[in-house]
């Protein structure tokens, strides 16, 4: 065996990721999701014509971690910025990266309408069932009975309604789109999540449709768990309410 072959690089930082340290808490899966987006951009050769739209939330500084152009949106409005940009520059690849507070609460209107118009953008939607950045308040995705700083006795659905299933909700729209829910709490799931993220970008590159990948993610800090406990908590509590799978793909779209 040649020495060169022995030293072949098989794993490296994607070019689309900047060489920097992130501010995320230990065990937080935001970092993994960043990597999946970056790998997809690299593999599809999109970095140089990509523009990301940053949310308000823990990933507000995402533009420091990527090696492509970025805009920073007001809380929840990333799909509107992405729409404005993409309508003028359909040749560019536009993606938003949004938390559940950002996308499902204050930005509910923007995401529903961007999806319904069939904007050719890619949305990476990180669902950790809580507001991370502001210190663990209830999100629209917080599970029934889940304790947060603004529902200290557990989410009472008679007062706050039930957690919103965004993928299912958006999948009811007639407009063709690609919507899949994945998780990144285990290596096997990370590999599946990667496929979904890549597929989402492919649908944009081919000009096919709006694409959204909902990623179940952990927030060890605000869940009050260790990183390992957090992954177990996700699997035990989130899977039953937020089933994984593809909810909509362009070929299956049609007037119901």
């Amino acid at each position: 065996m040649h020495i060169e072959q022995a030293h072949k690089t098989i794993f490296r930082r994607p070019e689309s990721l900047a060489e920097t340290v992130t501010h995320y808490c230990p065990g937080c899966t935001h970092g993994i999701i960043h990597r999946l987006v970056a790998e997809s951009l690299d593999e599809l050769g999109l970095r140089e014509r990509a523009v990301g739209v940053a949310p308000v939330g823990c990933s507000v500084l995402i533009y420091n971690y990527f090696n492509c152009d970025f805009l920073e949106a007001p809380h929840g409005r990333a799909p509107a910025l992405a729409t404005g940009f993409k309508r003028i520059r359909p040749d560019m690849i536009v993606f938003t990266y949004q938390g559940d507070g950002d996308l499902a609460s204050i930005g509910m209107g923007e995401i529903v309408h961007a999806a319904n118009r069939g904007e050719k953008i890619t949305v990476v939607f990180v669902n950790n069932a809580i507001y991370g950045m502001t210190g663990g308040q209830m999100a629209p995705t917080t599970l029934a009975g889940q304790i947060t700083s603004t529902c200290p006795h557990g989410r009472d659905t008679s007062v706050t309604g039930y957690p919103v299933r965004m993928s299912e909700l958006l999948a009811t729209l007639v407009t063709p789109g690609y919507i899949e829910r994945v998780s990144v709490h285990s290596p096997m799931h990370i590999i599946r999540a990667k496929k979904a993220v890549r597929r989402a970008f492919e649908y944009q590159t081919s000009g096919t449709c709006f694409s959204l990948v909902e990623v179940l993610s952990t927030c060890p800090t605000n869940w009050g768990l260790t990183p390992t406990e957090a992954t177990k908590w996700l699997e035990k509590n989130m899977f039953s309410y937020y089933p994984l799978g593809c909810f909509k793909q362009p070929d299956s779209a049609g007037v119901r």
Binding site: V51, C68, L71, G84, I88
Partner: protein, 375 residues
């Protein structure tokens, strides 16, 4: 080019296209919806982008994203809609992006009414959104002027990389007048913006268009950069008109937009009756023509200043700021969508002249007239 008869809203829409703003985002609201309707037809003809959004919140943010491409972008709305865009305006100003917005004002607060008013002056000139920022604000008083100002607004927006707002009112939007578009218009080089726009990090470092600066020193630096731009606007972009001002005038009227136009008619009629009054009309509401107005106020014969607005008194505060108490500032206003007639303006002027002839003393600052309060 020949003069053509056009409705204000449509003329402004056409002006935006001719200025190279072929990207328009909107949401319907009276009394400016014809801008959207006109552009829905016209934009496809020029290969432009027309998009009706789900709300003005989305419109403002689409404009934000669209402006990030470096291309010319435009929106129009009326008072409650502009309120919803304030979030985006603050972000666009913070991120230093150019865009042009038209506010065809209607009566407020709240849902108010759909008739002309000038009661968004504070919002347009003093911020509206959060943070240390200003919007360059231009107020036409005829359709021709609305066309001309709209066309220059895009260049101003790009010169300063700042939002520019045209404020008209329902009257400017709805009436028809002959207008002329310039035969040739140099819309400038739209690729010039590629020095800062998000165009893809090909062979260069990534660009970030943002308004977040967690380091207070960096945020202060950004705010000071903005502040310097506003100071430069004050030095370079002041616009105003003097109408029939002469050294013998005892009364100076200050009014803008549609209201100023009505005052001009009143002044013309008074002139025929042998009464001479002058009008100072700010065209740029920010930057406000402070120095120029003060010169007129300081004229020897001027005894008092009468501010006339279609509001309960908003610009009057800027006039008082300029006058600094050296002479009495009086105010007359109608609001709620009521457009005072020239007769009503004349009556106010005459009463004031009579009063000051009777007692050339006192420094009573006016308030909304009793009639206006009843109205």
């Amino acid at each position: 080019m020949a003069r053509i008869l056009m409705k204000g809203n449509e003329a402004i829409a056409e002006a935006a296209i001719r200025a190279g703003a072929t990207n328009y985002f909107c949401y319907p609201i009276t009394p400016q919806t014809e801008v959207a309707e006109y552009l829905a037809r016209r934009m496809p003809e020029v290969g432009g982008v027309f998009l009706q959004a789900e709300s003005e919140i989305a419109v403002g943010n689409m404009l934000f994203g669209a402006a990030s491409t470096g291309r010319r972008v435009f929106t129009s709305s009326s008072s409650p809609g502009i309120s919803l865009m304030q979030e985006a305006i603050s972000y666009i100003a913070g991120a230093q992006l150019p865009c042009v917005m038209l506010n065809i004002m209607r009566g407020g607060p709240g849902l108010g009414g759909i008739l002309p008013a000038q009661s968004d002056y504070f919002q347009a000139t003093k911020g509206g959104g959060h943070g240390d920022y200003r919007v360059l604000c231009l107020a036409p008083s005829s359709i021709q002027e609305a066309v001309d100002l709209t066309m220059s607004a895009f260049r101003l927006a790009e010169k300063y990389r700042n939002p520019v707002m045209i404020v008209g009112d329902g009257m400017i939007g709805q009436m028809m007048e002959p207008v002329e578009f310039p035969d040739t218009f140099d819309a400038g080089d739209p690729t010039a913006n590629e020095a800062w726009a998000a165009t893809g990090a090909r062979g260069r470092k990534p660009r970030i268009i943002k308004s977040l600066f967690l380091d207070p020193l960096k945020l202060e630096e950004n705010s000071l950069t903005l502040h310097r731009k506003y100071e430069q606007m004050k030095a370079e972009e002041v616009r105003f008109e003097r109408y029939k001002i002469n050294p013998k005038n005892e009364l100076l009227i200050v009014s803008y937009g549609t209201m100023a136009r009505i005052c001009q008619t009143a002044i013309d009629e008074l002139e025929r009756e042998g009464v001479s009054v002058g009008l100072f009309r700010p065209i740029s509401l920010f930057p406000y023509p402070e120095k120029e107005l003060r010169e007129e106020v300081d004229a020897k014969n001027i005894e008092s200043i009468l501010v006339i607005e279609m509001s309960c008194g908003q610009m009057v505060e800027d006039v008082e700021r300029v006058v600094q108490g050296v002479k009495p500032v009086r105010f007359f206003g109608r609001t709620g969508g009521i457009v005072p007639s020239p007769e009503e303006a004349k009556e106010q002027i005459k009463n004031l002249l009579k009063k000051s002839a009777r007692a050339k003393v006192g420094r009573t600052t006016g308030s909304v007239s009793k009639r206006a309060r009843k109205g």
